[in-house]
Amino acid sequence: MNVLNFVNAFFSDSAHWQGYDGIPARLGEHVQYTLEALALAAAIGLPIGLVTGHYGRGGNALSLVATAGRALPSFGLLVLMTTLLGFGMLPVMIPLVVLAVPPILVTTYEAMRSVDPSPVDAARGMGMHESRILFQVELPVALPLILSGLRSAAIQIVSTATIAAYVSLGGLGRYIVDGLYQRNYEKVVGGATLVAVLALVTLALFWAVARVAVSPGVRRS
């Protein structure tokens, strides 16, 4: 399998392990982009999703926003933002956030909507305040789904952050874009492998978070 050979060659070349273009540096950049974009997207998507989901209003509007968000081509947006804003993190963050907000927003809304209404009713009947109902009754039950939304957003960001390389930023996409122009498959495949591994690590991290954060009473059902 030549792909495996490429992978092997890429990772065994010690030159690939140091310097500004080394794996640690590129991986660090990639993780940084991912975390920043995810944090931004979550900061936008989670509150809106939680509140609209709690009150059950605005589902149609959300669905429209989500469709529009997904319809905007990340790559085009990246180029556009670079044209408008020049170089820097912002033009890269915007497409990544636009990409990540719809899944977070929509899943959070749906997660909140799918919470069994009877405990909420019971909580209200007990005299719980709305905010308390949201955070102490609905959120713990909606958490697994909300995490799954964050997870898909994270995976998409990990995969898509590679386009940052096209506008001269770093990250693992560097290997793929450079490899393309240098006709160096080893780099392309190595870069893609790193991205896939990072995606797997992301999956594992979310799994671990779910194990810790989700109540056993919810996990079961």
Binding site: A71, P73, F75, V79, E110, R113, S159, A196
Partner: protein, 232 residues
Amino acid sequence: MSEFLHDFFDMPSDLQHSWIGLVGLHLREALLPVAAGLLLALPIAQLCIRFRWLYPPVLGVTTVLYAVPSLAFFVVLINYTGQTELTVMIPLAVYSLVVLVPAIVDGVRSVPQETLSAATAMGFGPVRRYFQVQLPIAVPAIIAGLRVATVSSISLVSVGMLIGNQGALGNLLHDAQIYNRPELTWNSVITTALLAILVDALLVLVRVLLTPWMPSGSAGRRQAPALKDAAR
């Protein structure tokens, strides 16, 4: 203004297509893979339904493939399929699986047990039951999946530009840069987004036409699985 419009729709000669031509090309490069993905997803999903243990690994594999950046896919594929549309379409078809397989599996599985029992008891064989009962009832879920797959496919085609003018409307992005014509970037982004929204709306229409049996009031609620797929 009209000059701007003229510039806006004036395609550089190296693209070898008019704006409409690019739109057509873009749709072809985006939709054919989804169609192929659907054809592929149906049997895969059926296998996953038949053999429950198969579903988690299939989901795992599709998710990992999905995580591979499209550009990397393109570059590796050039080895085999050359610098052609096919190179762009194969990864897109693969990506669509990550949405379509779960959509079909969940859709078919969501058919109520009573309905299945009733069908079996009426003497439906497994094949007839699949095509006449399970699949039609799964249509809303499948179309929901198709919507997500199609929209993201339309968005992803643009990346094909990086392997040499294979990105349809995405090619405008590169030409915008080398010819210093930023309006082409706008054109690319807006046209792509509009295409995606249009196709999405068309699919909603198809769903409405195909499923007169769905309570319209709860259409929003039935969208739930669809929206969840959006998350993938």
